[in-house]
Symmetry: C2
DNA sequence: GTCACTATTGTGGTCTGACCACAGTAGCAC
DNA sequence: GTGCTACTGTGGTCAGACCACAATAGTGAC
């Protein structure tokens, strides 16, 4: 009853199962120790691995060999204490990390749904990571915007060229929600972000989706403050609505070049208008625009 | 003596200081609660914020308003206990999260260098996040490679077009290190990864650098296993050396188109060769290659 | 037998207190 | 001055005790 870890087969990777997954690095260092060593810039001699690292290593090894998969339950905290010979507080520190990283989800109480369950929710962890690193100026906002430019342009091009044409229902829904004139700036921005995120989701790339969620979340407060600087938020909102329609229209029309150009300009212009700064380069020549398609500046893309 | 939190002015953002940084969301929910709520998909009614979230919120607010900046020391754990009215274990859970995320660095002992210090080391956290999410199949390896394709292509184009020409000393150093014929596969891959990372660093984008470090780390073990599948690792290594030289040469020659094409093919081919799978699309047409420059396939780029 | 209530059990969440190893620093003996 | 020693404050860890909570087993009334 205490052994939640089943005997499930290792999950197959997209291109087929790996015959033998390496259990540890060739160096003999566990991954978490490596991370710590890199961060500390020292060898930490004589000191054994931290107790919480032991727990983290153990759980990671279970994940890597497929013993634990999404939906499975972790052994209880007290069971881990007994298995690994560490204190419960150390176990809880490790579980807390996995929690914030979006890998587990804990529930109190009894029954089959209680305890820590493996999930795969990278967005929360990515958002926390990026938001905090923006807060300590490790991630300059300009770099965040530059990265958005690169990823979103690639996503737009990908969507426009994808076969079969991707489903964009969710993006459209947020587009229409933004049409409500009674929307406050914060609410508008929420749908705005959701629209961009929906495009990433439509591309089907989990990594880009999570990354974009993190990028957006990290500058959420900046964007909100930025609206108060604009001379005329209403006018800006109108322009954004038009640009969004244009981007969507280009994707639907399977015009990769226009899609890339439009979304690049969309982000770049908004950044410039909001912060009055020189727009970050992103990439010097936005992709697919070697022969720049004249983008429809007006409402030609409506409906 | 116990108050490590100074009265430093808020750090200026690149485009100038923000006049008034919002202290909390308009919704009244703290960021961490929002993350939790999203992950849980529930409101968690009646239950107050978790104790460790309180600590995390507090520290994040200190970071956001600039009261804490890199190099500063956090209040001691026992001081936080007294300030926030939570137990020390809860404080430690929060600090552990910040530790793994690469935001603080803790040292035992006494003196001015002891305690938890604010740092900005996103790489470790990004690596941990991505590595674990690959382990639970939340991040398919194909998506990792696709994202690498997009980011590295953009980086290469950026570097080739940057003025003044960026310094590529570190990348060159790893290039030369890879020439050692006595290198084992694992060591070669280490320099290989370092080379690609050095390019990202040269672009000056902190976000991309950290992201690429995470992407690489997340599939490190896969790459290592992959080498054992290759029919002739030595031949592959030779080809990789040539391709690396070609990429560097294109950047040095300020040929944005070739730089983008070459690095795109480089990554795509290696993925295909190693895993024998259909190479991920990345972006349908690699940027800047609308008029494809015939890349030098041989060693024309040596030196 | 069926139903409603209650006690039990097992989960995470938290706090408290106690040690330990460690690294500076102050104090003292010389 | 110099060198040793004790002290102090730091994070790291463990053990134990509660609590709230949710499912379940058990118990009783009907």
């Amino acid at each position: 009853m205490t052994n939640h870890v089943g005997t499930a087969e290792p999950h197959a990777w997209q291109t087929g199962p790996l015959p033998a997954y390496p259990q540890a690095d060739q160096t003999g260092l566990h991954a978490w120790q490596t991370v710590q060593a890199l961060q500390n810039g020292e060898n930490n001699p004589g000191a054994g691995p931290r107790a919480w690292q032991t727990v983290l290593d153990y759980i990671e090894s279970l994940l890597q060999r497929g013993t634990l998969a999404p939906g499975d339950r972790l052994p209880g905290e007290r069971a881990l204490v007994a298995q690994l010979g560490v204190g419960r507080s150390s176990v809880r520190e490790a579980l807390r990390v996995l929690d914030v990283l979006g890998l587990i989800h804990t529930r109190s109480g009894s029954g089959p749904s209680s305890g820590a369950t493996i999930v795969a929710a990278p967005r929360g962890g990515m958002s926390a990571l990026m938001r905090l690193h923006v807060a300590v100026n490790g991630f300059p906002v300009a770099d965040i915007v530059r990265t958005r430019l690169i990823l979103e342009t690639a996503v737009a091009i990908d969507l426009a060229g994808a076969t079969p044409a991707p489903t964009l229902d969710r993006a459209v829904a947020h587009l229409e929600a933004m049409d409500d004139p009674a929307l406050r700036a914060a609410e508008f921005l929420e749908h705005d972000a959701a629209f961009h995120l929906a495009l990433a989701e439509a591309s089907g790339n989990q990594v880009i989706t999570a990354t974009m969620a993190g990028l957006r979340s990290s500058i959420e407060n900046y964007a909100l403050v930025g609206t108060t600087r604009l001379p005329d938020w209403s006018a800006t909102a109108s322009r954004l609505r038009v640009e969004h329609r244009g981007i969507l229209a280009a994707i639907t029309a399977r015009d990769t070049s226009a899609a890339g150009s439009l979304i690049h300009q969309h982000i770049s212009n908004y950044y410039k208008e909001t912060f009055g700064a020189t727009p970050p380069s992103g990439s010097p020549a936005h992709p697919g625009a070697t022969t720049p398609t004249t983008p429809p500046p007006g409402d030609t893309a409506h409906g």
